[in-house]
């Protein structure tokens, strides 16, 4: 059984804080991912697993796997074992629709999930936690529902296949079999346990207390009787950012007691903010992030003005010492989004040894991001309300494993 540590509260900045509602590094430094893996009790995603994925899917593993963006997991090896034996799985990911403004950091789990869907040919459920945002961000019900639909459009624009994807919003879908599972899960988690895992206190309203089962039960196929009728043993794989781990530790703890398989997880690190302050990109600071609605000009400006550079102060010094690749944001971003491994290595070498200047790196990054954002924008423009309705309709997906 996994150990659940109570996460420290924000006032204590001498420890790093990682939970679904707050991410900050220790003493204003970087997030220590090794410590996190230790603390949470999950596994590192190593080379051998990545090779296995390559073999099983007969295609190059996604750039996020190659570059260690998705770096931790729980039971991913078991999922691969079963897949090899012919037992498929389904994917589950989600978004809390708190704002209309989506930035690149938000897209990362979706880009990766899309790759998993294509590579393994498996179905996907996407949960929009409009109820969570209504409660935590104090939005009106209507506003959170509206945001959920708007975000659904950006999600669809990432390229999901409608014949294999079910998108649902909590306000619309909770009920029936889904709710029955929620109650089953809720019965297994005491108030004290919930307070320990999520840091709730006597001041928090009971809505928050009762939310975790909502995010837990999509891991169980019986929550979706229209998709997986009679297939109660179907395994679930959850790609998510590592700050969501607490929800699923709780879920994995409860699953065996309900006679369900534990969901497997594959977890990513945080996408750094442009200015590289500790923590992650924040939707509330427009200059910390590149938005999917930014124009080419905006992207260029933001990269040039705000992207934290590891280059040296003067050209001479730079040519002598080279750039500090550890802190350089443009290189970090390129490692997320530049597909070509060879080119990235080349840039790292030349820049790190002082022969390439920050301006060139930033220019290349601007190109890569602009292309990505343009493509997204184009796809987003093609998403109509009818398409959202289709993705969100409670309907069977007969070809979901093909």
């Amino acid at each position: 059984m996994e150990v659940d540590k109570k996460e420290e509260t924000a006032s204590d900045s001498s420890e790093q804080v990682v939970n679904p509602w707050e991410v900050s590094a220790k003493d204003g430094g970087k997030i220590d991912y090794d410590k996190l893996i230790d603390q949470f009790g999950c596994q590192r995603l190593d080379e051998s697993l990545i090779d296995r994925v390559h073999r099983l899917t007969s295609r190059q593993p996604h750039v996020f796997l190659r570059r260690g963006v998705f770096f931790a997991h729980r039971d991913f090896n078991e999922v691969l074992d079963e897949y090899e034996r012919g037992d498929k799985f389904y994917l589950y990911t989600g978004r809390g629709p708190s704002s209309e403004a989506l930035h690149l950091g938000h897209l990362i789990p979706f880009m990766f999930t899309k790759y998993l869907q294509e590579a393994f040919k498996v179905p996907l459920v996407i949960q929009l936690t409009d109820d969570e945002k209504c409660m935590w961000k104090n939005l009106s019900v209507e506003e959170s529902q509206r945001l959920a639909r708007e975000n659904a459009k950006d999600i669809i624009a990432c390229g999901f296949d409608v014949t294999k994807t079910f998108i649902f919003s909590d306000f619309d879908y909770v009920g029936g079999a889904f709710y029955k599972n929620m109650v089953k899960v809720a019965k297994c988690v005491t108030l004290n346990k919930a307070m320990g895992i999520f840091g709730f206190s006597g001041e928090d309203h009971i809505g928050k207390l009762s939310f975790p089962p909502v995010q837990a039960v999509p891991s169980f196929p019986s929550s979706f009787p229209h998709l997986f009728p009679g297939n109660d043993k179907l395994r679930c794989l959850i790609p998510c950012a590592i700050d969501q781990d607490p929800y699923f530790r709780m879920t994995r703890d409860v699953a065996p007691r309900l006679g369900y398989s534990k969901p497997a997880l594959i977890e990513s690190s945080f996408f750094p903010a442009l200015q590289a302050k500790n923590g992650k990109m924040s939707a509330s600071d427009p200059n910390s992030a590149i938005y999917v609605t930014d124009t080419a000009k905006d992207i260029k400006n933001k990269i040039n003005r705000y992207a934290f550079s590891g280059g040296q102060d003067s050209i001479e010094k730079h040519r002598e010492i080279g750039a500090n690749l550890e802190v350089d944001i443009p290189v970090k971003y390129l490692s997320f989004f530049l597909e070509d491994d060879t080119e990235l290595e080349h840039i790292k070498k030349e820049y790190g040894e002082g022969r390439m200047l920050t301006g060139e790196v930033k220019k290349r990054l601007t190109e890569v991001l602009t292309e990505m954002v343009e493509r997204h924008r184009m796809a987003r423009a093609a998403v109509t309300d009818e398409m959202v309705d289709a993705f969100m309709a409670v309907r069977p997906l007969p070809t979901m494993f093909e």
């Binding site: 009106s140 924008r377 184009m378 109509t384 289709a390």
Partner: protein, 309 residues
């Protein structure tokens, strides 16, 4: 063509509305206007031209000192927190038929502005005279609110005065108090043909305290889904029309071929083509498939599924 200032002034005279006129060089801000029209003549106004996500437009006319909080206003109108923003320049020209720096309650005299909601600062009512532009920013007129009311009634509008600084609770049991002033009709403002449509960027720079509407943002705002410019419409056909779909694929392939011609080895070239184009084309194909499915689904369900307002 819209009403000119002379038309308007003539109309005011016909209605026997008492006003004083001040001519001055064109002014774009209240500060500038204040240089030429002193406060003894009346109280200056700031005028905001706003738009919500459903293409409904509003003129908010307030005393310069009145704090207009856009978030609160948006909530009071029942549009949620971020539901309202400055309207773009083309809406100014198309709907109000005035130029930049010239938003004024009098703009509603134009037919094109019939669906624009006009909200006036309650504090105007206590002032002897208030100052507005009569459709042109090289003139200012001061008049009493009773004169303004008479003008509005003459064009069959009810004057609406609102306490703009109030911040009432809006919730389940306290409906938004200004929701009744939301226009029942939305207006589609066609985008100018030489600008490619872009999704409106979050308006980070504009604050409600700006004195004249910042329609200075030249970026066209994308109306909520319905109207797309001719340019964008044809670009989107690629997801619907088989011929355009194939054309796009051949175009991109040829372009890449031509740009990579320097590679002597044809096999390496085909490898590059595959590598570079496969992800792009897969995305294109998935969206094509999604569109086809959605259209079939819609047809199959026969009726419009319920959507939240």
């Amino acid at each position: 063509m819209g009403f000119t200032k002379d038309h308007l002034l003539a109309r005011l005279q016909e209605l026997q509305i008492d006003y004083s006129k001040y001519e001055h060089p064109p002014v774009l801000t209240v500060e500038e206007q204040a240089k030429y029209v002193s406060s003894s003549e009346g109280t200056l106004s700031k005028n905001l031209f706003l738009k919500d996500k459903k293409n409904r437009y509003y003129i908010v006319s307030a005393m310069v000192d009145t704090k207009v909080d856009m978030k609160v206003l948006s909530q009071r109108l029942g549009l949620g927190k971020g539901g309202i923003r400055m309207a773009p320049e083309e809406a100014l020209t198309e709907l109000l038929q005035v130029s930049l720096g010239c938003v004024t309650p009098f703009a509603v005299i134009n037919e094109s502005a019939r669906d624009v909601s006009l909200l006036l600062d309650q504090k105007f009512m206590n002032q002897t005279r208030c100052i507005f532009h009569p459709l042109s920013n090289d003139v200012s007129i001061s008049l009493n609110t009773s004169g303004l009311d008479k003008f509005l009634q003459s064009i069959e509008r009810d004057p609406v005065y609102v306490d703009l600084e109030a911040n009432p609770v809006v919730g389940k049991d306290q409906p938004p108090d200004l929701a009744v002033y939301v226009p029942s009709n939305s207006v589609v403002v066609p985008e100018l043909p030489n600008k490619t449509a872009s999704i409106q960027t979050p308006s980070k720079n504009v604050s409600a305290e700006k004195t004249k509407p910042a329609a200075a943002s030249a970026k066209p705002s994308k109306p909520a889904g319905n109207v797309k410019s001719a340019v964008e419409n044809s670009a989107l056909l690629v997801f619907k029309d088989p011929e355009k779909f194939v054309e796009e694929i051949l175009d991109k392939t040829s372009a890449l071929l031509l740009s990579e011609m320097k590679v002597e080895n044809v096999e390496a070239l085909t490898e590059t083509l595959r590598k570079r184009l496969a992800p792009q084309f897969t995305n294109l194909a998935v969206m094509y498939k999604n569109k086809a499915y959605s259209e079939g689904f819609y047809a199959g369900t026969h009726s419009q599924p319920k959507r939240p307002q």
